[in-house]
């Protein structure tokens, strides 16, 4: 089970991706608990704010897109944890729509 956090946008329009292989983590059970508790299906649409980041968080089959302003509570916890665990990958081809 992988969790992937992708941050796009910002003034510079640079994309960063962090990926964590949950099963390989020494604290795997904590990760699973955190992932299970996330409100994957309760993310309201947010009005876009110029130059702010957009986060796409996925843990198949779940995936959400969050505005930076929506990155609070358990989502913020998850992203902080992912960033502490994995090094970011930069760039890559822009994600095609509808995938």
């Amino acid at each position: 089970m992988d969790v992937i956090v992708q941050r796009s946008g910002g003034l510079a329009g640079l994309r960063l991706t962090w990926q964590v292989e949950v099963d390989a983590q020494p604290d795997r059970d904590d990760w699973v608990l955190l992932l299970d508790e996330l409100p994957w299906h309760e993310v309201p649409a947010a009005p876009p704010e110029p130059d702010r980041y957009v986060y796409r968080i996925s843990c198949p089959p779940n995936e959400v897109e969050l505005a930076e302003r929506q990155l609070t509570g358990p989502w913020q916890q998850l992203v902080e944890r992912v960033r502490q665990t994995a090094s970011p990958q930069r760039g890559g081809a822009p994600r095609r729509p509808g995938r």
């Binding site: 910002g10 003034l11 110029p50």
Partner: protein
Amino acid sequence: MPEIVPPYLLDRIAESAGPRFPLAAEAARRALLRPPSPRLGPGPLPEQPSALPDAPSAPVRRISDAEGLEKLPGRLVRREGEPATGDEAVDEAYNGLGDTHRLFERVFGRDSIDGAGMPLEATVHFGDRYDNAFWDGERMVFGDGDGEVFQGFTGSLSVIGHELAHGVTEHTARLRYEGQSGALNEHVSDAFGALVEQYALGQDAEAANWLIGEGIFTPEVEGRALRSMLEPGTAYDDDVLGRDPQPGHFRDYVETSDDHGGVHLNSGIPNRAFALAARELGGFAWEHVGRIWYDALVSGRLREDETFAGFAAETLRTAGERFGAESRERQAVLRGWQAVGVEPEAGDDAGADRPAPRSAE
């Protein structure tokens, strides 16, 4: 009378020559109050005066310090008229907002973001090594950068102008921040960001570098800036960052679900059209393409979900209205769009199905 001394210089003299050269300062102030010479060609738009207002207004700036937290607005540290604080980010933001206000007010007759003297609010030192600057609907917010790739965002006047211009767009054309209209929103911010820098430095279109965000990368990064308006895709090429991915031609438009449909990528296409037109005309870009783009932005004719083709058509219309249908200004704008593969939307005057003009704000 033709303006030999450019307005930015008059500004500087009027503001700083006071104690030592009182006569020069007074003369500069009087020159600034004079309406510009009637050189703008036929049919100036009545609701968007190119003449300077009788009483030039001053900005009302308020700079706050988030002190490393991601909380807004932060602690108010410098109000209008207060002396420099010694904090570089605070003072750069204060000065940059002044330069931006000056361009909009002196050149386009627009007093602040809303055209009605709205205070200019900024917060600096936002977050911990925060790698971004943005407009949140009320204020400009600037991070300090991580120190490895970015070294802060207030050091670039084009970035400060870019953020403030997002506010102007929000109060005028309201271009929806998604897809083509989102890329146009980004483009408008880059265009006016570049003009703020050129106006402050007194650069003509030839001398200008047409870069957005020069100086915000650390010296370790192989790159000149975030974006090049003239040559999209060439701003940086770095081991860590990769290569500047901006397209400069409509055939290379990037369809993506990242970043609201690649708004920071596809802005390269209209950016190049704007810079090419400015360079073809020569002289000060704010006097021709800047004027044409500003007229389009406030015309009330742009759709919120505007396409590149529709936006191009509207710039042709405002170029014709301000400078004449056969003018070299309109020709240059047309050639700019053609060079990037954007065919202006057909129609007598930019489309019969357009909304009726709203009253200018």
